[in-house]
């Protein structure tokens, strides 16, 4: 086992970084998407149940199936993996963002408007900061979930540690099969742990002291 790892140390580290990178980029895009959709949903409340249903049903689609569905459209490669991860990453953030915006006290919004804030000002300076703790929690969940999804997405030759797991599976019974699977799995868990710590730190830095739990 140690021999296996030390022989491929650099490559494993590279793939771990690739894995983290894929998740990071996907989650950033997903956050922007989800917050954008949530702003629209908050404006047109009748969309609320639709958004909730979509995020609930979306999470029931097996990620493997989605990869299969995307293949004819986007071909084998990183793009398919990326789209797949973005799709799943968006759902928990969307749900939290909708709830987060809905929780913002309406009198605060009116008072902000009454003081002469523009609609964009109210969004950026009042609604977003107040909804942020809830949205941030969604992003944190999303990061964790995306680590696993990214592993599956490696099936279409996406980047990251997922490749090791698939190699291990395809070589089941072979010399290094278990080593591949273990390195892939444990590697993802470790990357996820580090990412979660960073998310905690991000929360500390971005959630106002006035509303921190």
């Amino acid at each position: 086992m140690w021999e296996f790892i030390s022989e491929r140390g650099d490559l494993i580290a590279y793939n771990a970084l690739q894995h983290a990178n894929l998740v990071l980029q996907a989650v950033v895009v997903a956050t922007v998407l989800a917050v954008g959709i949530a702003v629209v949903v908050d404006r047109f409340r009748f969309l609320d149940p639709i958004a909730n249903t979509v995020s609930a049903i979306g999470l029931t689609i097996p990620s493997f199936a989605l990869v299969g569905l995307l293949l004819p459209l986007t071909m084998i490669g990183a793009l398919t993996a990326f789209i797949c991860v973005v799709f799943y990453a968006t759902l928990p953030i969307l749900r939290n963002a909708v709830v987060g915006f809905a929780q913002v006290d309406k009198t605060l919004i009116e008072s902000a408007r009454g003081m002469g804030m523009s609609d964009l000002g109210v969004l950026l300076r009042v609604r977003l900061p107040l909804a942020w703790p809830v949205i941030h929690a969604g992003v944190r969940t999303s990061v964790q979930m995306s680590m696993g999804i990214a592993a599956i997405a490696a099936y279409v030759l996406g980047p990251g540690l997922g490749g090791y797991i698939f190699t291990g599976l395809s070589q089941a019974g072979g010399v290094n099969a278990v080593n591949y699977a273990v390195v892939g799995t444990v590697g993802i868990v470790l990357v996820a742990l580090v990412a979660d710590l960073l998310m905690l730190l991000l929360g500390r830095l971005t959630i106002s002291k006035g509303i921190r739990a």
Binding site: G114, M117, S208, I211
Partner: protein, 400 residues
Amino acid sequence: MTQTDQASERAISGAELRLENVVKRYPGQKTAAVESLSLTIPAGEIVAFVGPSGCGKTTTLKMINRLIEPTSGTILIDGKDISQESATSLRRKIGYVIQGGSLFPHMSVAANVAVVPKMLGWDAKKISARTDELLDLVGLDPDRYRDRYPRELSGGQQQRVGVARGLAADPPVILMDEPFGAVDPITRQRLQDELISIQRELRKTIVCVTHDIDEAIKLGDRILILQEGATIAQYDTPDAILAAPANDFVHDFVGAGSSLKQLSLARVRSLDLVHPTTATVGEDTGPAVRRAEEAGDDAIVVLDDRGRPVAWPWLRQVRSNDRVKGSPRENLVTLDQAATLNDALDTMLTAAHSKVIVTGDRDKYLGVLDFETVTEHMRRTEREAAEHQLEQQEGAQADG
């Protein structure tokens, strides 16, 4: 502060507010929420809008800063039609204070106060100087409070910050919607006193919506009593409304015992204050105690370096220290000179001294009001009222 500064601050900084045939009709509703309201609010006055809930007072208020757009009619501030300006730039020139302060919980006290100046693009130095000045004005020590968050403040303190925020960009017109509705009665009384004292200094045009006729009587230079559909039942000074209600509605609304209410019109400043021994924090106790003994006082009023009362210890408490000690100013119950006699009596009944310290602008010490002075004043007013009534009756008999 120099003399000229003071003088210019006393000048009216408010603007005249005029409503002309203002109507608000909501689609699908038979009756208009506001039915052709015309009204002039003179510059520099506080006008209290009162009336039963649903009478359209808040709707009227919100039409002044265009949170609600009128169906027809014109609103003019300082002679200028407000619909000619963009809503956001108009609102930045109108202070807005609502119930509970409605502070942004994610912003520090200073950031809350700075919201409008920031939007107006003031530079950081000017903003922080202004913030400190305003916190001081509303009785919060800037060094202690500017970096706190709203949840670390009491309800009354939050409301104070709310008032400071409304004043931040020095707007000529300030709108207040049930500003003191969310605090306990004692705090409310203090906040009302402070508002009157601030207004004495600033002379803004203030529109204050309230459902509490007593608050209206206390705060308002004029009171607008509204009926269903924002029809004016009466618009006059508190004295005139109490003395001569325009109709049964006003009579019922003002309530029974309006002669007693008239008593509550009397302000502390119209009474003579007594001046017991005072001492400054940090002074040697020896001379202070001697002064008190010579004057026959059993307590000393302790002032801080800005002449604000901070403590009111008995002589034996003073003697136990070498130097005169203060305590946090918030712990001492004082009364603004604009407080009513009702407030004064309330405060005395709960105080240790059966007297109360009276303060003026920025909490400066003025003197002490004792129980006898208040009861003497009440007796005299009652006697005068009775004589007045007698004269009227005699007059009526003579006419008949």
